[in-house]
Symmetry: C2
Subunit: 502 residues, 2 copies
């Protein structure tokens, strides 16, 4: 074998995955690039009929600790890391009399394959030397090529062939970027393994929105919903969606309040002096829709209310607390899911929703509605206390109903919810038709989640006993709306917040 | 200074962040743990009045390449990595005559702080030695403690104090887990820096669903929607949601098809012999709702259609192609956004939605509806070709309308969409009321996204000229529904797929 001094450029190869080594060795032989290797890689290279220099002979340091320490030698790192343009670096490198490593080819110990083995043997698969070699090469990408996967050998060959024995900067940069990605994932896997031994990060769900869709819940901050289930059947994907929506509504209120959710929309919501009263009124908002729904309360559930609840069919009840007697009563319905909401995170800061173009990330609409967002714009500015309370209640509710949304309110009870419509007039018509089904009242309050583009909806509201309307401003017809309102002695409040929800 | 041989246990300290070094040195001094260090860390320790051993003196190897190679020496790694329970390992360690390192305290070069400096100087902040020391210590957590942040010094002190000079296994394991997390993030940052120099991964959006919510789009696979915008104002968060929903509808059809989206629901959709005809019919489905909508076509947009489109107000048009003449015509509406859908990813495999308990992840509903999912269960089994086509069309549409959803169809045109309702009867009523507003036809086809719990909806459909119904089975009242259908000579098709969408 020739002395390494006659060879200008070297590749250090240390691969767990030995596929396509022939391709690689052929390439280096063709371009007179020397090969440095050790252990099982060097055995394999030699058995394939190629020459290679043993690392241990070059460093005069033998592999120890069953392979735990092989390549962690300063001369190797001086060779990889020295700046080829820096006079002092070049001098240091020359002094150590060592081959110049311009290529580092490493495939890491396959930690992921072994991690399922819960014994500590998986630890032997935590590669220390490999990531260090790759990271050093990637750091010095201005001169050195880091190859972290056999799948890149073809690209490497293309670059070497086009550049007569060396690679081009953009290729080295691309491979360096990939290297840090590979190692980041590798270490993330190791981290997960450490954590998994402690606690699961995913909860498997029976299925998704429909039985033919698989689904799971990736838990944040080790929060496991099942820990807060008191009784009942398995919590479904749609249950979780509904519980989440329901808690959004409840966040708006401190008074005893009940919300009943169906298909991610509220079908009834009411605030009252007691939680029992609020439940009865939320149920009466739209009893037909409430069937099979998810009921969320913001106060402790006691036996009196439990006795009423048990007479109806619901899928889930969520409350910040239950008396023992209440649990006993509700346990007669074995499938009914009871959740303690006390430990469920109050709010999301960010909302993530995947679309085919990527992930949409937005701040959650956590702004609390207050007086400063509202302005009476009608001539008639005399809101009764009750009207003002209903304006606040209605707007807090409509904020969480799917757009376009119109909500009719009386005494902090929804009496007509027009949800999910493609135009505002339809949403208005729908809320009125729902109202007429169940109620016949005077002086209704209406809340809209965005401006009225025309006067048609207001006309309809006026005809149906609505005297007070809260709505975001912003239409080019805002003035027409104000004129109509004033002509009919209605009360109109503009909100500076628009509250779409899709 | 005493010889290292008299000290049983050592801490190797190499910290960029030098906060709380006094606390740390005090702790080690108290428990007679020796300190090994180098460079600026050792200077600082000495200036604080503590003793420490210089790494270079112990390894007899000087720091070189302006600090690029300091600690990458096999003796250090033999000391950290040797298995304290393994006879051969212990022998190897004894032979090198080196201090036993039981604690590795490293704070990494702050790459993130420097990465914004787009020059290559940031590269000097890619730490090679630090991560290697930490990873080695974390790998050997059965004996060695890895501390990757000054914020953990207090915990370290607690553990050492409770265990009279050593740490307990569970603490070491916790710190090892953290170490891999820290390094994974560190390398992810470096990777992002490499990529950022090439392309942005986030697109900032003007705002989210509402003006008071900040938002951005995290791009998948370097796909940038703006690259496919031909003209028009800035694409909004809600535009992206609507485009994504619209493409879900179009994926179902190969015939020329137009869908018009408002608030994430279709307000009109039609398949016809030409794309122009399909647009006109989709618009006529519900002209009122279509105002200001997002129009999606599955065929090239030509001048004839452009002349019709320009007469209406839309926010966005999406098409797989445009003739130059069509673009010229549409350019008269400067704000109108034109998108080429050709390069937009066809489908999402997984859907992610964040809730306060974590992230819900489900398979997308990408199953293609076919004959095998449908079964005629009425006595009357003679569906005309047209009816059968409308059954398929209607069910494909209702799959993507928000639940509860009922869709009325005639000749592959939606003629009444009842979307987003909290009970099925309301959805049915809504679809019929929408139908009556715009049409008066015979032999309608109805599609429902889940079973009818009662017969009431079917009665209403029958009264309003609907003769053929496609609906998922699964109600305890399925037989009652079949009986009613048979008594009234209606046609009923059961789908084995339920198609909720929330």
């Amino acid at each position: 074998m020739v002395s390494f001094k006659k060879i200008k450029s070297f590749a250090l190869i240390s691969v767990f995955d030995k596929s396509n080594l022939v391709f690689l060795c052929n390439l280096f032989e063709k371009y007179k690039i020397g090969i440095i290797s050790s252990g099982s890689t060097s055995k394999e290279i030699k058995s394939l009929g190629y020459n290679c220099f043993e690392i241990s002979k070059l460093t005069k340091f033998n592999e120890v600790l069953d392979g735990r320490v092989k390549t962690l030698h300063p001369n190797i790192y001086i060779s990889i890391l020295h700046n080829r343009e820096n006079h002092d670096h070049k001098k240091t490198f020359k002094n150590i009399n060592f081959p110049k490593i311009d290529f580092v080819i490493v495939s890491l110990y396959p930690f992921s394959k072994y991690k399922k083995n819960k014994s500590y043997n998986a630890i032997e698969m935590i590669d220390i030397g490999g990531p260090t070699l790759l990271r050093a090469a990637a750091k010095n990408f201005e001169s050195v090529t880091a190859i972290s996967s056999p799948s890149d050998y073809t690209l490497l060959a293309h670059s070497i062939e086009r550049n007569s024995g060396t690679t081009n900067l953009s290729f080295r940069k691309k491979m360096a970027a990939k290297t840090f990605k590979v190692i980041s994932k590798y270490d993330q896997n190791i981290h997960n393994w450490f954590i998994e031994n402690k606690e699961k990060k995913y909860i498997k769900l029976k299925y998704g929105e429909n039985p033919h869709q698989k689904a799971k819940l990736k838990i944040k901050n080790d929060f496991n919903l099942s820990n807060y289930k008191i009784q009942g059947k398995e919590i479904s994907y749609n249950n979780i969606l509904d519980i989440d929506s329901g808690l959004d509504f409840l966040n708006e209120f401190t008074e005893p309040t009940t919300v009943i959710i169906k298909h991610n929309n509220a079908c009834g919501i009411a605030s009252s002096s007691t939680i029992k009263k609020s439940f009865v009124r939320a149920l009466n908002s739209d009893k037909k829709s409430a069937f099979g729904g998810v009921v969320l309360l913001n106060k402790k559930l006691e036996s009196g209310l439990a006795k009423i609840l048990i007479k109806n069919f619901f899928e889930v009840i969520v409350s910040p607390g239950y008396t023992n007697e209440a649990i006993k009563i509700l346990s007669l319905r074995k499938n009914l899911i009871l959740i303690n909401s006390n430990k469920i995170p109050k709010k999301q800061k960010k909302i993530i929703k995947s679309v085919r173009m990527g992930n949409l990330i937005q701040e959650n609409d956590n702004l609390s509605l207050s007086k400063k967002h509202l302005k009476i714009v009608s001539k008639n500015k005399k809101l009764t206390h009750r009207e003002y309370e209903d304006v606040l209640f209605g707007f807090k509710v409509v904020k969480h109903i799917k757009s376009n949304a119109i909500v009719l309110v009386k005494n902090k009870q929804t009496i007509g919810i027009g949800a999910g419509q493609m135009n505002r007039y339809d949403a208005t018509k729908l809320s009125i038709s729902k109202y007429k089904e169940n109620f016949s009242l005077k002086n209704l309050v209406c809340a809209s989640d965005a401006f009225f583009p025309f006067v048609d909806s207001i006309k309809l509201l006026q005809k149906n006993n609505c005297r007070c309307i809260v709505v975001p401003n912003g239409s080019i017809n805002d003035n027409k709306v104000i004129n109509f309102v004033d002509k009919n002695q209605l009360k109109l409040i503009f909100s500076s917040l628009r509250v779409f929800k899709h």
